[in-house]
């Protein structure tokens, strides 16, 4: 049944949810719903654009949880799509993969790249929990802390070097801290990322005369409103290597867990200026199925 769920992910969300709900009432709920986060655009456990220290997936009996996700963002002048999968092993290690596509749609013509010209990249991630437990350790301020790396490889290397990018692949390093404040029904996350990536890597790595790592920040805060429903805000800073006025990303989101296996995240994102086109705002929708 869960396999069907995953296969239906793109199209048949509602169907799938009903099937899953019919399973057993008893197993529903589980580890606090939503506190495991959803898959962010890079495939790592987190919010939509920010990274969490939590290891993805609800822990299962043998200690391995996995999920798949599909995400779409329709911006003013572009479309962003991503899909991926992640496994959480013994609530300690997270391995993830995501494929991202950045479709220039009609804007491709104006950029001289051609209609529907699409940048894409693959992101292979690993995250290890170092200390703390974001949920259990309610009697201390110590957050759960994880470190991670993401190897990213972008397509269209010709266009990327024309734009000035030094490389079409790169590695990001990050430290993330997360804490669920149950007393306040609040989740706080912060991450520091060392990166050379332009637009998270879709526009390559480094720029003219600039191949250094930059220290960037990701933060998010979410309120747990019901057992299934959370709402929050995210912010992510980015380097500006290409001289294309790359802006910070921000969003407001709601996440809804239909059950332990299926959640949907909707957001209004503001990605700022992208490749000379300003005010890239729009709707974000992501579906995630865990098993």
């Amino acid at each position: 049944m869960r396999k069907i769920c995953a296969a239906l992910l793109g199209a048949g969300m509602v169907l799938c949810a009903q099937a899953a709900q019919a399973q057993t009432e008893m197993r529903e709920g589980g580890k606090l719903l939503l506190t495991e986060g959803v898959s962010n655009i890079e495939g790592a456990g987190g919010g939509g654009i920010a990274t969490w220290a939590l290891i993805t997936g609800y822990e299962t009996r043998d200690g391995i949880g996995a999920n798949v996700h599909a995400t779409g963002i329709q911006l003013k002048d572009y479309q962003f799509r991503a899909y991926g999968a992640a496994v959480g092993i013994r609530d300690r290690v997270e391995l993830s993969y995501a494929h991202q596509e950045f479709d220039t749609q009609g804007t491709g013509v104006k950029l001289g790249l051609g209609r529907d010209f699409t940048f894409s990249q693959d992101v292979y991630g690993a995250k290890v929990k170092l200390l703390g437990d974001a949920v259990y350790d309610q009697d201390s301020w110590v957050p759960q802390v994880s470190v991670g790396a993401q190897y990213k490889r972008a397509s269209q290397s010709g266009v990327l070097s024309f734009l000035g990018a030094k490389d079409n692949s790169g590695v990001d390093w990050f430290v993330a801290a997360s804490k669920v404040f149950l007393n306040e029904s609040l989740v706080l996350n912060g991450a520091v990322r060392e990166t050379k990536a332009n637009q998270t890597g879709l526009l390559g790595f480094g720029g003219p005369g600039n191949d250094n790592y930059h220290t960037e920040f990701e933060g998010s805060a979410a309120l747990l409103l019901t057992k299934r429903f959370a709402a929050g805000v995210e912010y992510r800073t980015k380097p500006n290597n290409l001289g294309l006025k790359e802006d910070d990303w921000k969003d407001v989101f709601v996440a809804y867990a239909l059950n332990k296996h299926l959640s949907v995240t909707a957001a209004y994102v503001d990605l700022g200026e992208i490749a000379t086109f300003r005010n890239q705002r729009g709707g974000y929708l992501s579906l995630q199925a865990g098993f």
Binding site: G30, L32, V175, L182, S185
Partner: protein
């Protein structure tokens, strides 16, 4: 924020494990007819695992004694009916568990009860409990609190008290 969190991490102190004032020795077998005989043990409020809430807000939110009794009974009923964890409860004294859990919840919610049970570490020792078991129990508690119509934020405040007991109950 990271810095703030890390700083907090550095100054945070984990409360010392129950170096509790021992008030008296409990002789459960003579005191609670209907319960199985167990060895005598030291009776102390600190056995409850943590300190109670202040004020009567939480006690009222749980609908006082009648509400807490309903929540505990449903929690135990659901745990016994859950194939993932029911085996762990078999061969244990459920009459005593219901009584001591009701006392413990009442004590923590500041309902004015005395917790007469044993401490969390001793009592769950050698059960080989895993996080999965702990989470299953929390899941049933959440459902029981839902059925008692306890507000979500108050549920979470109570769970915030219980969550650190994972370190005492779960043996890795």
């Amino acid at each position: 924020m990271i810095q703030a969190l890390l700083f907090a991490a550095a100054v945070a102190t984990t409360p010392a494990p129950a170096a509790a004032p021992t008030f008296k020795i409990e002789h459960p077998s003579t005191k609670y007819p209907g319960e199985e005989e167990i060895a005598d043990y030291a009776h102390a409020p600190a056995n409850a695992g943590t300190t109670p809430f202040e004020g009567d807000g939480m006690w009222k939110a749980f609908h006082e004694k009648a509400g807490v009794d309903r929540v505990v009974d449903e929690l135990v009923d659901r745990s016994l009916a859950d194939p993932r964890i029911s085996d762990i409860f078999k061969s244990h004294d459920m009459v005593r568990l219901r009584r001591t859990l009701k006392e413990q919840f009442c004590y923590l919610l500041n309902g004015g009860c005395d917790y007469s049970g044993r401490d969390m570490k001793t009592v769950h020792k050698d059960m080989g409990l895993q996080n999965t078991d702990f989470n299953a129990l929390v899941e049933h508690l959440q459902v029981a609190m839902d059925h008692e119509k306890i507000g979500f934020r108050d549920q979470n405040r109570f769970l915030a008290k219980l969550a650190p007991m994972q370190r005492q109950a779960v043996e890795r």
